[in-house]
Symmetry: C2
């Protein structure tokens, strides 16, 4: 079977990772990456030691091509021309929120499929996507949206909890890292900043994946960059136990259970583990649940997990490419294939 | 009526504040403060511009008196001698956890009443204390314990919620500041650190105040020093509304409702408000609820509040002195008197 031809449009925190992940799949071909600005990220990734060395670079907006070229980049062509040439099956759109809407017009014009990211409006896509929960809803679609890092982590863990005991009602407190580690934006450096709406946007987003779920989320931002932490409280339909919930997490793909007693007492040691494992960019696409925080009493379960916001959606993007193109319509097979290629446990 | 004679034993973050607050009451007399170590805090507070200038200093442990004296402090005597002299009615024990147990033997020997702090074991005291919820349980007792900053904030706000709608079941996520602002201890500076037990100790502590309450708490520590934030989810017995919950908070003493739209978007701006109000040490003994986070749907309510851990228990200690000595047995009268003396809204 011919490989699926993919372009990643927007080489930022997510785009650079998805492009690299596409390169590692044997059923996909990274036709190119596309961007508009001569950023340090673009430059580094295209260097001989970079993860995207020798990848063809296109300019998303024809008028800005000269801008990239005068900064020393070799630009093979423009994205509209590339799409018009019929050489692309799927665009993974990792452009900033707001741009994606304009881009969609371009993708529609050239009749290519597109996968948007969590920052995009729900209405932009025909389906929101999570590999475990609702892969099928995206099979064969033209426009799909991979939900955000927070929603992806909740989709995976709630999938485990739903299968184990059934979810009657859920409440989640999200303790969010302020910015990505590379981001020099001024976050709160000595304050806790609540999201001033109840629910925060995460709950409604999760419902685009788990339809009919009864969930309320509330979120605060705190001065750290490594990972988010979610504090979960769920009333279950059936009688629950700590052991059964641990087992449910342990057999769920892309969910790891880590022990504080083994030294994983915070997000810091957890992220260090993935540095020591030699993962690309020290990423942790898995959700990390702390075993000591898993608890159950009758029809109620609790846990905390950590979310590496930069990388958790990368494997879901790969699976979404398979879903929209139909090259694999079984979600578990796609997950297994992706995880093997990316070295995910 | 003769003034109640009070000694504060242990001049740290809480002790220095309680001693100052005692000085401001017209029905109490600060006989002295007592400590063992020549700390910078002790020195500053006894300076001419300090809040405890001219307060008599005693040494809690007779053998350590020379240690204080050789560091330049004038020590009037030892705490055991002072207690033996019959000049003290109540000791507010603000000594470090672990020491309080040994101190209790001393207080018993000299038949003085003592008020311990939240770090002390529940079993040390005959009653746990909150001014609003269970003042009566401490009236006339010898040994009472004022619960911690977190528990005090939950007692006040849950009191409002209980009165308004009845509490069926509660879940609280505590997002804790790592250390006091003055504390050079190394907290997490770029990590989120969960408490590895469910419930965290706060839930059981709250039940020593609100008996029979169905509550589970989970806590994380984050890299900030200003204040804690609690994220609360409560299933109510009766139908709830946002407006009624706001009203309940607004008419509850020592609970302030602040608006993000007025610029209070995080703990940072909230604490700045109390600096600008000229409060002693820029303290905020009130719980601050963010109006935008107050929400209700049928039998469920939600909110977030900020807790200034250094000062929130100070007014409760003053009320506890009145309770154990019986000079005021009506909690609302005591609260009103304390708040007026301390300038609390």
């Amino acid at each position: 079977m011919a490989k699926v031809k993919v372009v990643v449009n927007g080489v930022g925190a997510i785009g650079k990772r998805v492009a690299h992940a596409v390169k590692l799949q044997d059923d996909m071909k990274l036709v190119g990456i596309s961007d508009v600005a001569p950023t340090s990220v673009l430059r580094t990734n295209l260097e001989p030691e970079g993860f995207l060395y020798k990848t063809d670079l296109y300019c998303s907006v024809p008028e800005l091509k000269g801008n990239l070229e005068s900064s020393g980049f070799y630009v093979k062509g423009t994205l509209p021309d590339l799409l018009a040439s019929g050489q692309v099956d799927v665009v993974v759109d990792c452009s900033p929120a707001g741009i994606d809407e304009k881009n969609k017009l371009l993708y529609r014009q050239h009749n290519v499929k597109a996968i948007f990211q969590g920052g995009a409006k729900d209405s932009l896509a025909q389906a929101s996507f999570n590999s475990l929960v609702n892969f099928d809803e995206s099979v064969g679609r033209q426009f799909v949206r991979v939900v955000s890092c927070n929603t992806t982590s909740l989709s995976r863990t709630f999938y485990a909890a739903e299968k184990a005991f059934g979810i009657k009602k859920a409440f989640v407190s999200l303790v969010r890292r302020a910015v990505d580690p590379w981001n020099p934006s001024k976050g709160p450096i000595n304050a806790i900043k609540p999201a001033m709406s109840v629910p925060s946007h995460h709950g409604p987003d999760l419902k685009t994946i788990m339809h009919g779920l009864d969930v309320v989320t509330m979120a605060v931002v705190v001065p750290t960059t490594l990972a988010h932490v979610h504090i979960v409280s769920i009333e279950t339909k059936n009688h629950a136990s700590k052991k059964a919930l641990e087992n449910a997490f342990e057999k769920t793909s892309r969910v790891n259970v880590l022990d504080a007693k083994d030294g994983f007492s915070s997000t810091a040691e957890i992220m260090e583990k993935y540095r020591d494992l030699g993962r690309p960019r020290s990423d942790m696409p898995e959700v990390a649940v702390w075993r000591e925080t898993v608890a159950a009493e009758k029809n109620h379960i609790y846990w905390m997990h950590a979310v590496h916001s930069e990388s958790i959606v990368v494997p879901e993007n790969i699976d979404a490419i398979r879903a929209v193109t139909g090259i694999e319509s079984n979600n578990l097979k796609s997950i297994k294939k992706t995880d093997k290629a990316l070295g995910i446990k």
